[in-house]
Symmetry: C2
Subunit: 342 residues, 2 copies
């Protein structure tokens, strides 16, 4: 199946220097893939001269005269940057010229523009951000990672429905195990929203496993495929894990560089340390999906390098192939129908 992805080529900390080579690599890897690079024509043309000929109709450049800055306020970007690479990439999805859009740009602006341009799936109140993290069991999907700071039980329930469809599609699991993030596994634990969301989930057709704690993201006692939480807690958990991994990597490096003997040990252990590093390489987990919208939008980490940005494009390819947006819409429609019957 051929799929077309619009790339916000100007987004991210490094812009076209990263997005263009990553895009070309993806075109090489998948002969069914088509990409539209959106951004400053002059810059992009220069970077792809040879490639345009190589990939012929699989690579297009779409000019955009503006770009959204990384620290720009979402509302300013939404109102003032109608010809930005980000906006035009999303417009291409709305107009059916692209099946998904990938951007490493400003998260808040991307969410505001995506929501405004693509609109919500009927029945869903708010979009959410879902991503994947490595775990001792393989990996865990988690949402929301920051789109919604305050969530009602109903929002959390909707996140579970949507997230469940993403995990089914991406992991090819029939009934993903869903956990609700809490500060204990006992019934009495948690705040009002979480307790009420647990009731909704218990009475749903979802494969709800109960409360899980923060350690379940990477290494819990119970394996779950999807963890549901509000955007404040999810974002803090994600960044706490990033900080922990960074600290551990720093201390490991320090231990191996403390003197000549430890450096020699480091040389002996180098292939193993490299293998270990690859097993938790965050670049292999780059790419968060905005879900609940009538179109696919993948957010890459702003500081993504070429490999990480390729991972985000690859995620878009998988979600297009699996028709994630349609699956979410259908599941939401069925769930709502069943509810109205009650």
């Amino acid at each position: 199946m051929s799929s077309t992805i619009a790339i916000d080529a100007m987004g991210g900390d490094f812009g076209p220097q990263i997005t263009v080579p990553a895009s070309l690599e993806c075109l090489k890897a998948n002969p069914d893939l088509k990409l539209i690079l959106v951004g400053d024509e002059a810059i992009l043309n220069e970077l792809v001269t040879q490639a345009v000929a190589d990939f012929k109709d699989r690579l297009k450049i779409q000019h955009a005269s503006q770009q959204v800055e990384m620290d720009e306020k979402p509302q300013t970007a939404l109102r003032g940057k109608k010809d930005s690479s980000m906006r035009i990439a999303i417009n291409l999805v709305r107009d059916g010229q692209a099946d998904a859009c990938v951007s490493a740009g400003n998260t808040g602006a991307l969410m505001a523009i995506a929501r405004f341009v693509l609109k919500m799936i009927p029945g869903i109140d708010r979009p959410a951000i879902i991503s994947t993290l490595p775990s001792v069991f393989g990996h865990t999907h988690i949402l929301d990672l920051g789109a919604n700071v305050d969530c009602t039980a109903e929002h959390l329930y909707q996140f579970a429905i949507m997230g469940g469809e993403v995990v089914k599609a991406v992991e090819k699991i029939a009934a993903p195990k869903i956990g609700l993030l809490n500060i204990g596994e006992e019934d009495m634990k948690g705040n009002e929203q979480v307790k009420a969301a647990a009731k909704l989930l218990e009475n749903s057709s979802l494969n709800y496993m109960g409360y899980v704690e923060g350690n379940s993201i990477n290494a819990g006692s119970v394996k779950v495929d999807l963890i549901v939480t509000d955007g404040f807690v999810g974002n803090v958990a994600l960044k706490s894990i990033e900080g922990a991994a960074k600290m551990i990597a720093t201390k490991l490096k320090d231990a191996f560089s403390s003197n000549i003997f430890t450096r020699l040990a480091g040389i002996a252990a180098y292939p193993v340390l490299k293998m270990f590093k690859q097993s938790i390489d965050p670049r292999m987990y780059n790419g968060a999906s905005f879900i609940g919208l009538r179109g696919l939008v993948i957010k890459s980490h702003g500081g993504a390098d070429e490999l990480a940005f390729q991972t985000a494009i690859h995620l878009a390819e998988v979600e297009i192939e699996q028709d994630v947006t349609r699956k979410i819409s259908e599941k939401v429609a069925t769930t709502l129908e069943n509810r109205e019957e009650v």
Copy 2:
């Protein structure tokens, strides 16, 4: 200065098998320390026969006929276990017979009993749990770690005042740098409570540095000494970090045990890996303080081993020596006075 600590000897996953030997080690290490082991007399006497003679009046046993179970509901423990080792240990603090109490027992029960028996410091609405985590800069103190699932801005402000005094006393820093945990560093980010708490902190005499993200706990771009958040977010962050560390340790071990060559590399790297492991050993960070109460209560991890439980006792020694409860009370009183003047 001599200090007396009441030990809930029956608490924790391993009870007296861990708490008694850890207590004896602490008595050996500090000739000014006195301990009261609270629990089943028959069991405790058997474990300390020789030691009682060695330490003479520095080691006492106080009988308690009950013990609080690890999964017991806080209210059941509060109402039904008036002769538990936990309750009696806390009573000793209230009655001035001990300067602090250390327990590895059920957190919820310990908090409920401590709050009931010791009462709150005037001006403080809720107790909070504060602990320390390693960071690339040294370490970071964080509160609340789970006592309060819903917090107003005023609660967060009170946590900052109390936490600031703990860090001053324990770290001997004149004006600890305080960060408020949020999902971004920009003003517009966060929920209503966090934004309102930021205003209170900006207008206070505290050394408030602004918002910090989850990665600041272990490895942020800005060093802060104290991070303030509500108990839901704090607990999830703490456990997410524990999970990340466990996963990384597992993957590192897997990498070194994958074949004969990696095992040989592991032997070469063993001293370095050991040094690395020590640098992030969670046992060296065991012990969370319940603050806001009119008496010192230290909670050890339930699964603490002998070394970890010693760390918790040592934390109690430091907080007694630094007179943390009095310092918090005085700071709260001054802050309230100044407020009334406004």
